[in-house]
Amino acid sequence: MNCSKIEQWLSEYVESSLPAEETQTVAKHLETCTHCAAVVEEMKSILSVCRNYSTLEMDPELVERILLRTSGRPRTRSLRERVNQYFVRPILTPRFAAGAVLAALFLVLMVNVTIPKLKGSVSAMSSQGVLGFIDHGVRGLYGEALKAYETKNEWQAQFNRLKTNTWNSLRSIKEQMDEPVEGRRKSQDGEPRKESAPKEKTSGIYLLPA
């Protein structure tokens, strides 16, 4: 049988869908015809490549574009995308990275400063000693906190005194400003000062009560 007749069956032959009789004919032909045998090998290779051909994924932005141009509704985000959008992306910013690096450096520095001190003392202590060390630390912290509280109270008292003095000074200045000019002159000349009915305030300064 000639090659052109055999070639009509080759596609079904490689798919194994050719009837038995034709399959035998093709197999016999392939034993003697190197050309058709090479074509069959190449066809098998093509089918194998096609089976393993990669499938492209659609870009989510393309899906978004399509949805906005059709229904007008944006794409529904998966839980993972939402986590990325609201938590991961804001964290992965240059500012956060710089902060994280600084924090790490600070931590390393603190560990380097404190660990050598602790190493010596902790290794020399028993469990009771460690508890005592912790107790000492807590007492120390409590003492420091008390001192800080007292200092704060002292500063507060000083501030209150200063505030009272300032208010008193301002009140006296205001009273001097409210006194009539003529009355002040007469009193300066040595004449007795007459008591007059209280007038309406003329000064524009209104002080708040202390």
Partner: protein, 196 residues
């Protein structure tokens, strides 16, 4: 016709946007890949996928479940638009670009060794080149049968031609591809021997 698809279309026609999104997610990737097989260009495939899905959305009312499955209907719309696109751009044949290399991304974990994997990747590149050299009818037959994995009867329904014609086109397409690949392989081998 899958009842699920029919329900989706019904919901979509009643204004349910979530149903439409489901359709886009179900068929978008297939349409996009179909466009990519024809054009061998990612950007063109994206434009085609967008155009096709917009057309599907606009013509959903014209779909009749009695006339066939929704999948076939959507593929018919896709095919018509791809052919229109082909007619528009065929005067400017596409040459293989950087995206040609993407076709080398062969996914097969069962390959025995790296050498075999390289051979497969090379074959994938040759195949993509070879497909572009085929006539539109043969190229379409190979894409639908070998790359999309469609059955003969599905293809006959989609292309509206007898199964015998489909088989003949597939055979001719594979033969042409095989000859082309044999020729290129021998040219490559001659080039390597010349370089040595």
């Amino acid at each position: 016709m899958l009842s699920g698809d029919h329900k989706l279309v019904e919901r979509c026609l009643q204004g349910d946007d979530a149903a439409w999104e489901e359709i886009v997610n179900s068929y978008g990737r297939r349409i996009y890949n179909l466009g990519y097989r024809y054009t061998n260009r990612r950007e063109e495939a994206e434009d085609l996928a967008q155009e096709i899905l917009i057309r599907v959305y606009q013509n959903l009312k014209s779909y009749r479940s009695e006339s066939g499955s929704f999948q076939n209907w959507i593929l018919k719309v896709a095919r018509n638009l791809i052919i229109d696109h082909y007619r528009r751009v065929r005067r400017y044949p596409q040459t293989g670009g950087s995206e040609e290399l993407e076709s080398m991304n062969v996914q097969d974990d069962k390959l025995p060794n790296p050498l075999r994997k390289i051979e497969q990747a090379e074959a994938a590149r040759f195949l993509q080149d070879g497909l572009q050299a085929l006539s539109p009818e043969l190229k379409e037959a190979i894409i639908l049968r070998d790359l999309e994995g469609m059955a003969y009867n599905e293809m006959a329904d989609l292309l509206n031609i007898p199964e015998g014609t489909i088989k003949s086109r597939i055979n001719r397409g594979r033969l042409e591809l095989a000859r082309l690949l044999i020729k290129r392989r021998s040219q490559n081998d001659a080039g390597v021997k010349g370089a040595l």
